[in-house]
């Protein structure tokens, strides 16, 4: 693409998009009628709670995994049975960690969608 042809298409686009504003036709009044009357600047509570849950969930599940992971890895390293490793994984701490991680994941997705 030459600069000249680039300039031509840009000039054409600027010319083509130049147009008068769309008539209001009551649009502004309809929007103002829909505005919440209470706290116009209140933060989105749902998104805020979602972010707090997400941060807590990530922190707690990371702590749980770090606390339990060495035992699990040692189990494999020592050549113990798979059943023993599964016993460790199904301990309440692991289950709780998994549940919290899942909940925090859902909370994160929800918070991102709301934000």
């Amino acid at each position: 693409m030459s600069n000249e042809s680039g300039d031509r298409i840009e000039a054409l686009l600027r010319q083509a998009f130049k147009e008068p504003p769309l008539a209001d036709e009551g649009f502004t009044a309809r929007v103002v009628a829909r505005l919440p009357r209470s706290q116009p600047t209140a933060p989105d509570i749902v998104a805020a709670v979602g972010w707090v849950l997400a941060a807590l969930g990530v922190g707690i599940s990371l702590a749980v995994v770090l606390a339990v992971m060495p035992w699990n890895m040692l189990t494999f390293a020592a050549g113990k049975s798979l059943e023993r490793a599964l016993d460790l994984i199904t301990q309440p701490a692991w289950s709780a960690g998994l549940a919290i991680a899942t909940l925090s994941g859902v909370a994160t997705v929800f918070a991102i969608r709301r934000d």
Partner: protein, 175 residues
């Protein structure tokens, strides 16, 4: 952001003047509706989304930091709303001459009709950045902020969009 605009935002945030946000809507409704009409293939749907855009902007007004123009912030909200709403809708395939007119058909120039038809044939991202750059006059940085695209991607879509439009609008290319 103009001084008047900043004052209107401050008044809307303070909650003392409920009509202040209405003035902001009146200032920017045309640009937001035009942008959404360029994205949607249904003018009524575009206007519904424009209303949603302003209501959501009002709720989130405290989050507007003023590091980009208020209009580009509004267009970012509009872009996200359109993308979310589009997932639940089946769009008809783009066909030449099938674009939603951005103005009343009676007042539409031949050039504008050809442009609408050509823009309708672009990929969605190309259509978005072309309209934001030439229809709204946003800078590359503002387009990147509004769409969430990296700056390089914005430039690529702009270049590709212009290349395709150059071919589609060849008859209009001035000598």
């Amino acid at each position: 952001m103009t001084g008047t605009e900043a004052d209107l935002i401050a008044r809307a945030l303070a909650g003392r003047d409920p009509e202040a946000f209405g003035t902001l809507v009146a200032l920017h409704q045309s640009a937001v509706r035009r942008f959404l009409r360029s994205q949607c293939r249904d003018a009524a749907w575009a206007d519904d989304l424009a209303q949603e855009t302003f209501v959501l902007a009002y709720r989130r007004l405290a989050g507007f930091r003023g590091d980009a123009s208020f209009l580009s912030w509004l267009l970012g909200i509009a872009h996200n709303l359109y993308r979310n709403a589009r997932r639940g809708r089946r769009e008809p395939p783009a066909e030449e001459g099938d674009a939603v007119p951005a103005t009343d058909p009676a007042g539409l120039s031949d050039l504008r009709q050809d442009l609408d038809a050509a823009v309708a044939q672009l990929a969605e991202e190309e259509r978005t950045v072309i309209h934001l750059a030439y229809g709204q006059g946003l800078s590359h940085r503002e387009i990147a902020a509004a769409t969430g695209m990296p700056m390089g991607t914005v430039k690529t879509h702009l270049a590709r969009g212009k290349d395709r439009l150059r071919g589609l609008l060849a008859a209009w290319n001035p000598r």
